[in-house]
């Protein structure tokens, strides 16, 4: 397994996302002092034949915990920070953010840019227990969604249903929201511990996965949420983030406080496909490359961003041939 590595000295990675426009481009949200104190950095990176090089970077006064690329403009990204702010950045503008929005009263831990056709919205999730939906210029929030009884760690737009996003919270629930009616459509008591991450299946609009402090990941079918479709056991500490593959319906990846990234096929009897242990600290950021099948990017508190194709995906049923 060849791995490309980018080192970000004194910056601890929190989130990575591959550009939806440029296959080689990756954004990474990072923070000084493990995000406990100090400032933040937003990195834009390009992978080359042999490694990863820095395209541009911006400093922010507080740690940056999540990042999302615009689905409409290849130069634009949004980041969420420890100071409750969202910032809109432009790779063509090297000094300051295009816009900064401060409405959340506590840390913003998640941002996501909608990708359903004809819709161009940002959603943010905060430790102030609210999620907010924004227009793409971040002028002011369009709506604030209340209902979670704990901090929100993750907010992700449905790739299928317009105006619909899911959120994962410290209150142990997964919630599904309808933005038009500004209401929670479904609250799933997903884990008996904090839920740190959620993601939608790209091939079935009813499937969602959650990752929790209880070390397990669960796959849910929204038509029957009394019990998960599958429970994925293997991580030895909390699952910090999980993502469905853009290429395979039943494939997902999870990264964890146990320093590992694991790959799963939840349709199999033994779902664990691979455990990648190439970090020496908590692994917080994870994304699949949309353009290069089976390529994965992750980032860790060990001050590295890594791009690789895990062994389990480089051959066999999950190989590029699909």
């Amino acid at each position: 397994m060849m791995t490309k590595v980018f080192r970000s000295p004194a910056r601890h990675g929190y989130a990575v996302e591959v550009s939806p426009f440029v296959p080689s481009r990756v954004a990474c949200a990072a923070a000084q002092y493990y995000g406990i104190a100090g400032c933040g950095t937003l990195l834009v990176l390009d992978q080359t034949e042999t490694g990863i090089c820095l395209v541009t970077s911006w400093q922010w006064g507080d740690g940056l915990f999540d990042v999302a690329w615009s689905e409409a403009n290849e130069h634009v990204l949004v980041a969420g920070g420890g100071d409750g702010s969202l910032q809109l950045w432009d790779t063509a503008n090297h000094s300051a953010p295009l816009r900064e929005a401060r409405e959340h009263r506590q840390e913003v831990y998640s941002v996501d840019w909608s990708q359903t056709r004809g819709e161009n919205l940002i959603v943010s999730g905060s430790w102030d227990h609210t999620a907010k939906v924004w227009d793409p210029s971040l002028s002011s929030s369009l709506t604030t969604l209340r209902g979670h009884e704990g901090v929100i760690y993750s907010t992700v737009w449905s790739p299928h249903i317009p105006g619909c996003f899911a959120s994962a919270s410290g209150d142990g629930t997964l919630r599904v929201w309808d933005v038009k009616s500004a209401a929670c459509r479904l609250a799933v008591p997903a884990h008996r511990a904090e839920v740190l991450s959620c993601d939608w299946c790209k091939y079935d609009q009813n499937l969602l996965a959650t990752g929790s402090v209880d070390c397990s990941a669960c796959v849910w079918d929204l038509r029957n949420v009394r019990q998960p479709v599958n429970q994925l056991l293997g991580h030895t500490y909390a699952i910090r983030r999980l993502k469905f593959s853009p290429f395979s319906k039943t494939l997902l990846a999870s990264c964890s406080y146990d320093f590992s990234v694991r790959f799963w096929d939840f349709s199999r009897n033994q779902p664990l496909l691979d455990t990648v242990e190439h970090h020496s600290e908590f692994v917080c950021g994870l994304d699949f490359n949309l353009h290069i099948p089976n390529q994965v990017v992750d980032c860790s508190w060990d001050e590295t961003v890594k791009i690789y194709t895990p062994g389990c995906l480089s051959a066999g049923p999950h190989g590029t041939g699909l």
Partner: protein, 422 residues
């Protein structure tokens, strides 16, 4: 420091099981239905025809280890649901010999016993048979044993076979002498004489180190027996140490040995297993029963597999059986701390280790059959005892594999977990 508190909260849960519980069968850890190893002991391994056990019948060897295992843990023999004995060379796999051994060891008549022969894996097969009886619900506790006196029963003819075996090349290949199958493995897979000799040397070095540092003392049951010396007079001896280990072995010495099976071959008396006498016994039980009796848990049987291989290269067995057992356990080679792979021949052991990409330091850390000897029916049970003692010495939860090639042209493997100190 609100953030510190929130993130500390993320670390509030930890799954106890590292590695094993990867969504696989091993995930069912600590189940009350687990088949667990309570305890195991073995005799020293004697040199056949020249060593301390050359005049000792196998029932005596067997009785010594059977009695020692139960005495060690203070278990009354009437609690045993069954006793299975692996044996190769006695008539009928030593069914009568086993029943006699049971009485010599003081077990009551009500305890049943039987014998099993899967050649070189018989000692492991005995354990798997007992495990199967526990899983099926027939018994709660059982004793798995292995014994061989190669002094008193040299390898015999294969028995009555159809002349039609000549028409079937696989069947015919089953009559190829073991030494020639070793030459076949060496030739076909390019295992050089130098590699084989180097492997044999490390077996002696590791075994000598284990012996001199007393690592085997806790697993070996001293056996007091009688032997007839060269002058023809009978005397009593107590055998406490493996007799095959040669601490002074050198590469030069090994290189001088003539091929044993084929003029231009590479398998010698120095890089093949030794002909030996010995016995071992392992107490198994259902976890619920074991815990109810207050007995310790030394290991947990996690998976096992027996796989047939091409008869002319039977030594490749472990290269097929180990992956099959690991897959069942949901583990990989990297998850295993110690491999006990029987050294029938250095050729096949080297091939299997390289084929599976096992780091050499994980293989037979206390030597193998080249140094210790290979009392056929005993070996599998002996390996389990040595493996679990080694894992226990390491003092932390770990996994081990016992594997061997089988004279009837197969490979066997079993995966054990040492649960860690209490």
């Amino acid at each position: 420091m609100h953030r510190l508190k929130v993130i500390s909260g993320h670390l509030s849960h930890r799954r106890d099981l590292r590695r094993s519980d990867c969504g696989a069968r091993a995930a069912a850890s600590r189940g009350s239905e687990d088949v667990v190893v309570v305890h195991g002991r073995r005799s020293a391994i004697g040199k056949a025809r020249r060593g301390g056990f050359k005049d000792t019948t196998p029932d005596e060897l067997l009785a010594a280890v059977m009695a020692a295992v139960l005495a060690d843990v203070g278990l009354s023999a009437d609690k045993l649901g069954d006793v299975c004995v692996g044996n190769v060379l006695q008539p009928g796999a030593g069914a009568v010999m086993s029943r006699v051994a049971q009485f010599l060891s003081g077990f009551p008549e009500t305890v049943p016993v039987y014998a099993v022969n899967r050649q070189c894996s018989s000692g492991l097969q005995a354990l798997l048979n007992v495990a199967g009886s526990i899983r099926s619900g027939s018994i709660e506790l059982g004793l798995a044993c292995g014994v061989e006196s190669m002094s008193l029963r040299p390898a015999t003819k294969p028995g009555d076979l159809s002349s039609r075996l000549l028409d079937h090349h696989r069947a015919r290949d089953c009559l190829i002498p073991m030494g020639i199958t070793s030459e076949n493995v060496a030739e076909r897979f390019g295992v050089s004489r130098e590699k084989q000799d180097a492997f044999a040397l490390t077996s002696h070095i590791k075994a000598a180190r284990a012996q001199s540092s007393g690592l085997f003392d806790q697993e070996i049951v001293p056996v007091t027996t009688r032997l007839v010396d060269d002058a023809g007079s009978e005397r009593q001896v107590t055998v406490r140490q493996d007799e095959g280990i040669r601490p002074g072995t050198t590469l030069e010495g090994l290189a001088k040995l003539k091929p044993a099976f084929k003029a231009d071959g590479s398998t010698t008396a120095g890089n093949a297993s030794q002909v030996s006498d010995g016995a071992a016994a392992v107490l198994l039980g259902r976890r619920a029963a074991v815990e109810a009796l207050g007995l310790p848990v030394l290991g947990v049987l996690r998976a096992s597999a027996v796989v047939g291989v091409p008869p002319d290269v039977m030594g490749v067995g472990p290269a097929f059986a180990i992956p099959a057992a690991l897959e069942q356990a949901g583990l990989t080679v990297a998850d295993i701390d110690v491999f006990e792979i029987n050294e029938a021949f250095a050729s096949q052991a080297v091939y299997c280790v390289e084929k599976l990409g096992i780091p050499l330091e994980k293989v037979n850390p206390n030597g193998g059959a080249i140094a210790l000897g290979h009392p056929l029916g005993c070996t599998g049970a002996r390996q389990v005892v040595t493996l679990l003692n080694e894992l226990r010495r390491r003092g932390r939860r770990g996994f081990g594999v016992v594997s061997m090639c089988i004279g009837t042209r197969m490979g066997a493997a079993a995966v054990f977990e040492y649960p860690g100190p209490l």
